[in-house]
Subunit: 727 residues, 2 copies
């Protein structure tokens, strides 16, 4: 027995050792590292300079920044035994151990036992300086420190500077865990796919891939000499229009024998029209579907098949637009637009919960200092950037991001503040694009209530971030600015007779027009009193005399505002009418703009061009967000779902079920009119329900919070089953 | 006769046509163009990341910036006939005529007759976006306009933005006039050279190239397998020291037959020690001398052969350090250091008058916004940058440079102003390197008088630039700051008992130490009263009890201050002792530091390393400047020599003659004790002389300005011969 005890003790020690070793191994997974934000800026440049229009390169019209070309990486190690580490570096580099340089460009490094500092300094003009170090304990990961100016000078006697003026950040990394795939080789995966239908046209062929898709076109068995025309169409009409389609490729070939050839730039299409002149023949055409390898973690299914279809097409639309970054649409721009991305962030929290795509997008949008214009040149888009960070922190609790990029937040806000007028408000100045939405005759003159309301929200966000980082003075300053601006917004724009905020003021005077924009944001920003909310709901949101919204982009916020006021039954009908309307028009992904009043090919036109409209636009996928946040009703109350709420609303559905992803797993919900099942892996939740009867929940206390209103605490790991009677 | 008259008339018309055509051709010389400052920043990165130390890459320790990666180029043309232009572009690009895109990446462009806008938009991450357009009138040159954010968006209807918020600059260009040599291919020329002496050592060889030189080493007839060691030495001792030389190369080779092989990175050396292990043999070793193709336009020759030798070795030293940029020294750093460059600028005005090297150096030093540290991290070096622009404008009158880069001047000054203390003075903060000079025990604590005096000068320069550009408010602000600071400097640091400015103040209190630095700058900045000047001269400059200067760097200013007070005879002796002293030590180029008290190989050591000292340092060449400005005595009084003065000072020489380059040619001077000859191609000059007798100048009026003081106006194009009696 004694032996056995010893054995147990030994086993326990063994376990501890194994577990610590495991922990050490887990800690010590080598990965490529770089200066925070630099890969994102570099990739943003690459990605956004891939747009073509009818075969001509069409780059963006704002400033693009670059990575820092010279970076110092280091980490201090305490090794119990000497070890050898492999080195992989993107760029020209030097390596030092304890400040002593190793000769040349070594691929291996010997580090003796004891305390040692390993440093690398890397120069790379064309791509991001990055390193991958793989030893036993000496491995590159985000615990390394980096700087773009190490100030490591020496004095006359050879003594090194104290470097106390150097700012070191924690290195950035992602999933580049293989030495042979460094950041500069980043590419999305592809998959071969066949057309659903094809139709011969002369030597050429018209292909229908059955639904909107994205990738490279591959021509099989091409033979002969001449110029192959490849005309892409989101619609059949576009693919057949040789002179007005938005995108095309031309391949000059000279093949003596049958050859397979693939296009070099990805395109969006459902139809591909391959036009071959006499002298050229081919066997067939297929595609390589390019996609971001992200996983669905959220889900939604309900008793209404049309809503399920809308959810599925939203999901597909969202996936197509989730690539290196969250982009606007796959056919035309393929750029990172802050207003579009902001909505994608929100949808992401209910489908993918993929933080790297969020931060990558935020960083590519922001670029670097100095700020010389609004983000994407658009005033409102600057504010969505701040708002995007606010949400990102709430949903994920990633404080490091705020710490590392607070200086860029601050300098962008400084830019805004440097452009305010005497009233502390922002009007469009020369070079500012004041966007709001694509809508006919929308005035951009003077100070728009919509812009000020986003500005106020951004100032609040800056105050919160400054508070979090203990920048007390800045927090107070931003807080005061936000407060003052909010008061000014209400006194300047609220019109009691119109029961709403008016659209703008010119020369300090209210104008007469009321639009939906500022009013709907005021609702879910909680800027209104309960009375004002009701007035706005009646006189603006549900008032057909107020100019209607024609883009899914602003419908997103319009429906969100209505949901926030409990109008889920109305919104469900709107969703069915609007997104269902696109489906009835044959949509296989959701569009940039949809005006139910238009007919036939008129749906395809925009920007004065017959096929100018994008038929696959990220902002078309907003049901993902609405169904997750306002029907399943799940949202965090504090960062990373430490506290959260679930307030399910069937909105007329018989039942629904779904998952909402969090940093710890998914919150799962089933809800019918009489039964709710919920289980959560994270934080402390509150299930907030309305019931005609006192809900029955085995193993939980039901708190009565009002007439027919109940709350049940949801502890993580326990499944709750609630019997109730939906009101 | 009538016929003849008509003929003359026709001939005149013919001439006019030919000349206008010539003028048109001259205007229309195609050259590569880019965004101002971008080539310089890009080349600066490339050049400064070439340093190695004993075979290991040794990059700088400050921030490096990048070119703008996406640039819009355009120009409006009015063509009398249609024309075709060839296109060459560095980067991915689009071309438009009147806003209409041309398909793909065309190499030819057709432009119809009439008024048309030609635009190109170029993306390039790794090198500078640049274009070369060659038609008849449609050619790329510095009359094109460029921007890094064109804000060329379109609205919903397809209407373009007004772009009034876009800042367009005139394109930059240099001498890239061939389409096949774009900016990214820039390289200095090389020339084969042989060693003066060689000595076999085993299989290897020690070579002596006879004097300091720079380039690639070429090994002829190398055969066998193994590792070739190439040890460079500015001294024989260094080349022979396999373990302590500053630079070396190792080549791993495996040649079955005799092969010539050349090193891939240039090095500085006089001696090369090629060490071959057994199994390797070679025939001989030569070099490829690399140099900047700049021409000497200034000259100096006098009755003292030692001074002539000093001038020649200075010239050679200066040439070796004049490369892609004015660098510090050729062996070790090979970086662009602002304090070193500032002196090179001044020497340049008296030897090369090469503005592109000046502006390239200024722009590489400055980099881009945001400013995150002082230039080269050194506080004083920030100020030299401002002072360098002040001189550049005075010597060349290049207002465009000030116009284009005033924003970078302003943001750098903003950085300084953001770091002043409550007294409006600058102290070293964490991360600031307060340099002044290499000197033992120099205190850097508190507010140094030297730093404040350079700061005041920089503020004056900002005020002048702002005035020139009509930024009235900024001019007044900088002017006031300069004035206030100058008053503070005198009250804070002037010590009547010590007859000098003291070195520093700590906690607002004067310290006791007096050093030369602030005092000598105060002289040639004219910050002192005439009485103070004399006090400083006696109690500081000519006082052996004040710590002596050991670098040619600060000797430059020390001797300049003495010259400015008419101490040319004294300075001539100092020059002979100091620079002559280096020559006596066998110098073939002038050194980074020279302490006459040291002996033998002690001269080679610095930074705690036996061969750490650079034996070819640009700042060693200052006699070029002193002899031109204070002996020939020529300097501009207003920009580009519109007004100038020549106040020759023999300083004990029997005679001297020389040339000083200007934007219009060279001012030529011969001066003996009884005769002066002067001729100028530029502006209005004043010959200012001291004479025991009334000078006799045929064809000119002599103005008496004091006892024995005379002035003669020098009109351009006329040679003046003056008979006088030197005092």
């Amino acid at each position: 027995m004694k032996n056995s005890r010893y054995f147990n003790l030994l086993f326990a020690i063994f376990l501890i050792l194994v577990l610590s070793a495991d922990a050490a191994v887990a800690q010590s997974k080598a990965t490529w590292i770089w200066y925070p934000g630099d890969f994102e800026v570099w990739l943003g440049n690459k990605m956004q300079n891939r747009r073509t229009e009818r075969g001509t390169f069409l780059p963006p019209f704002w400033k693009f920044d670059s990575h820092y070309v010279l970076i110092d990486f280091h980490k201090d190690f305490d090794l119990s035994e000497a070890e050898s580490a492999e080195l992989f570096v993107e760029g020209q580099y030097s390596v030092k151990v304890d400040g002593k340089a190793i000769f040349g460009y070594p691929s291996k490094l010997e580090i003796p036992a004891g305390k040692h500092r390993v440093s690398l300094k890397v120069y790379n003009q064309g791509a991001v300086p990055a390193v991958y170090v793989k030893g036993k304990k000496v491995v590159s990961d985000s615990t390394w420190l980096v700087t773009y100016e190490d100030k490591e000078w020496i004095d006359q006697s050879g003594k090194a500077s104290d470097q106390s003026g150097t700012t070191w950040l924690k290195a950035a990394s992602w999933n580049f865990d293989s030495p042979s795939v460094p950041p500069s080789k980043y590419a999305l995966p592809t998959q071969p796919q066949s057309a659903l239908r094809s139709e011969k046209k002369g030597n050429g062929m018209l292909l229908d891939f059955g639904k909107e898709t994205f990738g490279y076109v591959k021509i099989h068995g091409l033979r002969g000499r001449g110029n192959v025309g490849i005309y892409y169409g989101e619609s059949k009409e576009e693919a057949l229009s040789l002179d007005s389609g938005e995108t095309l490729d031309r391949l000059d070939v000279n093949f003596n024998s049958k050859t397979d050839t693939t296009t070099t730039l990805t395109k969006a299409f459902r139809y591909v029209n391959v036009v071959l002149p006499a002298g050229l023949t081919m066997d067939s055409v297929s595609m390589l579907y390019e996609f971001a390898p992200v996983k669905d973690r959220g889900s939604f299914l309900c008793s209404d098949p049309e809503i399920n279809k809308i959810y599925d097409v939203s999901k597909y639309t969202f996936h197509l637009n989730t690539r290196e970054f969250f982009i606007d649409g796959i056919k035309r721009d393929r750029w990172v637009w802050s207003g579009d991305a902001y909505q994608s962030f929100l949808m992401n929290y209910y489908l993918l919960y993929d933080s790297p795509t969020v931060t990558r997008t935020l960083l590519a949008l922001r670029g670097k200092d100095p700020v010389t214009s609004h983000i994407n040149t658009i005033m409102d888009y600057t504010f969505y950037w701040f708002m995007g960070i606010k949400d990102y922190y709430l949903y994920t609790g990633d404080k490091t991001f705020i710490e590392q990029f607070y200086p860029r937040m601050k300098s962008l806000m400084d830019y805004c503040l440097s452009r305010t007028n005497n009233d502390g408000m922002l009007e469009g100045k020369a070079g500012d694009w004041v966007f709001i939405d694509w809508a006919d005759g929308l005035s951009k003159k003077g100070e728009l209530s919509f812009e000020q309301i986003l500005f106020a929200r951004s100032l609040e966000m800056m105050a919160e971030s400054a508070t979090m980082l203990n920048h007390t003075e800045e927090a107070a300053n931003y807080g005061q600015l936000a407060k003052t601006l909010k008061v000014k917004i209400m006194t300047r724009y609220w019109n009691a007779g119109k029961h709403a905020l008016v659209h703008s003021s010119v020369d300090g005077q209210q104008t007469a027009n009321v639009t939906r924009y500022a009013n709907m944001f005021g609702i879910f920003f909680n800027y209104f009193s309960p009375e004002q909310e009701q007035e706005v709901k009646k006189h603006v949101l549900l008032n057909d005399n107020i100019q209607k919204i024609k883009t899914p982009y602003m419908r997103f916020y319009e429906l969100e505002a209505l949901c926030a006021m409990g109008e889920q039954p109305y919104v469900l009908k709107e969703m069915k009418a609007y997104w269902g309307g696109m489906l009835k028009e044959g949509a296989t992904s959701f569009w940039e703009e949809y005006d139910p009043a238009k007919k036939g090919t008129a749906h395809l036109a925009m920007y004065g061009r017959p096929f100018g409209k994008s038929l696959c636009h990220a902002w078309g996928a907003s049901p993902l967000y609405l169904l997750g946040k306002y029907y399943l009703g799940v949202k965090p109350l504090s960062p990373a779902y430490a506290e959260w709420v679930c307030a399910p609303e069937l909105g007329g559905l018989k039942w629904m079920q779904g998952k909402v992803p969090t940093n710890e797993g998914e919150i799962e919900l089933y809800c019918s009119r009489t039964e709710i099942k919920i289980k959560s892996p994270v934080g402390t939740g509150i299930l907030r329900i309305k019931s005609k009867t006192l809900p029955v929940v085995p193993g939980a206390r039901v708190k009565i919070t009002g007439a027919g209103l109940y709350e049940i605490a949801v502890e993580k790991g326990t499944e709750y089953k609630v019997k109730y009677q939906s009101i």
